[in-house]
Symmetry: C2
Subunit: 350 residues, 2 copies
């Protein structure tokens, strides 16, 4: 903090003046103010008294300088506190962010909050206390208050989601959010599937809407309608329940499309336990292309939305805004289907 | 920070007065307020009572305020930047931490570093800049420099690992680290397995040593020796490679024990792809008891080391040190085997 303060305007009292008045080094002033180091209580008192006397305050320049120097990026997640355990999507996102942040000495400040009001209050506090250089916003909503709020607070931010030139903060993500789902349905159609059920995420999320619309359009284009559409909260429990329910339908679907890979893997396990073979009796498609999908047998057919690369691009966008020398973020195109082993030809009617 | 310094007025009661009233040193008052040091609960109470009595508030002091107000706990992970994607253990740990931190408005500052030197330098910087209230230390090493370093920096910390009364910082974890492995081997022995291979973590980690020693002792106790012991870096790639290698041994093992669940799930997938049935032809045991193990088919037999609860206990220990009113951390006992579907009777010799 020393050096930052030395660059301050000449008319203001300086840390050097405080150090001189207290008879200590500028480092000791820093320590007294920050409550660090090993200076004695008496010295600390003396420094703080001298600072008060001279009208010197470390925060005079702190806001701007601190802004540039916290080397901390916030990731506020508006989900239940067990989200990281239940949805590896966030682990992959953090992995992508850390791949850019860690080599440059930046940390990621993770906060889990219950709702949008808490999330907004948190940004206000973190900015007021000068704790972060920027923020990554997730789970975009159709009517999202955060971009305007953060612009008002002067905090650099990126919103994860499809690029949108009109957004008050940069949006980082793949374009054509519906493209992966369209491709997945085309793949199932080619394999002969006509009875496809769709498990979606929470209805209020933007990507839930975009993907569901793409799915319904694609089916309509083929003259079909979904066997069933179910919304979910992304959890393992929901995956098991919805799979059991869908497999018990009189007009049992021959293919299930899930909103993330962990739900798809749960769905495969649930189907296998009920005696069905995947993909012989049931095809399953995930979404995200997480490592998880390559570990299991059969390997998961899924939509790659490049979560790690989106995280990396978000980090680079923010790092560039912090004055770091980073390569420009690169994201190529759109979500794409990755065909593996969990999808196969429609079973012949029994 | 402005306000904290400007708010000081000469008439205010001083920390010295509080120390005198409580019959302790000013350092002890600091410790009581900051939740640092090793003063007794009784002393802490006495100091806080004296402070209340005199109308003294630590907000006069930058130290206390800052300490009490970053509402940020550091988690520095000394692993490759893709660790969160490749080892759900950390996701579960973070889930456990967040379950306690989030409801109290605390954030988790996540830093990934390459080595111990970087990790130590980072603590020094974070403390110097007053960015954190405490730290959770992971991946304990036999000769770990961090407890002494953090005590020197005056930063509250907990070290994850088996409790140890002699440790300079509290250690939070289950006792009897080898107990789960002993139980796992006993289970395999009962099922008739005699050819067991053991995949371990990196040799330099304390828990790797403790568990491997427990495994070798258990086998020796049964008059057996391991078919093979292999160290690994915890990755998916390593799981696939080591499984292929072990299954190609002339004296093929009938059971594999892995150091975490994601490696075990990769191992099961690799075995299944090579045409082996789990558990009919091969039994597999994981370690951690992550959600993942309940999603797959067959469900994973694994050692529950209560990662989330350890995370919660670590968070509570630190929160109590920050003056938060939290229930005392509770951890019951030792790692325990959870028997599911991936282990079964030894196949009859062909």
């Amino acid at each position: 903090m020393n050096k930052r303060l030395e660059g301050r305007a000449p008319a203001r009292p300086t840390i050097k003046a405080v150090a001189a008045a207290a008879g200590v080094s500028t480092a000791a002033v820093s320590q007294a103010v920050n409550g660090t180091g090993r200076i004695s209580e008496a010295t600390r008192r003396r420094v703080l008294d001298a600072a008060t006397e001279l009208g010197w305050s470390p925060s005079a320049s702190a806001t701007a300088l601190r802004r540039a120097r916290t080397r901390t990026i916030a990731l506020v997640v508006r989900r239940p506190t067990d989200v990281l355990g239940s949805d590896p999507h966030f682990s992959e996102l953090i992995t992508g962010l850390e791949g850019e942040l860690a080599p440059r000495g930046y940390g990621l400040l993770l906060h889990l909050v219950a709702d949008m009001a808490q999330e907004n209050a948190l940004y206000e506090r973190l900015v007021a206390e000068g704790r972060i250089d920027g923020a990554v916003l997730t789970d975009a909503r159709a009517d999202d208050p955060r971009p305007d709020l953060l612009r008002g607070l002067g905090l650099p931010a990126v919103l994860l989601g499809a690029p949108d030139a009109g957004s008050p903060v940069p949006r980082v993500g793949l374009g054509q959010q519906g493209a992966g789902i369209r491709e997945a349905f085309g793949h199932l159609l080619e394999l002969g599937h006509r009875r496809v059920a769709y498990v979606a995420g929470p209805a209020e999320l933007l990507h839930t809407r975009l993907r569901l619309a793409a799915f319904e359009e694609a089916l309509a284009g083929a003259g079909l309608s979904p066997v069933a559409v179910r919304h979910s909260d992304f959890t393992e429990r929901a995956a098991v329940d919805v799979t059991e329910e869908l497999l018990a339908l009189p007009d049992r679907p021959t293919a299930l499309v899930f909103p993330n890979d962990s739900m798809a893997v749960c769905g495969i396990g649930t189907a296998q336990r009920s005696g069905l073979r995947v993909p012989d009796d049931l095809s399953v498609v995930g979404y995200d292309n997480l490592s998880l999908g390559r570990w299991v047998h059969p390997r998961l057919t899924t939509v790659d939305q490049q979560v790690q690369r989106v995280g990396a691009a978000a980090a680079r966008t923010l790092l560039a805004g912090c004055g770091e020398d980073v390569p420009p973020p690169v994201l190529d195109g759109r979500p794409r289907l990755v065909v593996r082993e969990s999808t196969g030809p429609v079973p012949s009617p029994t």
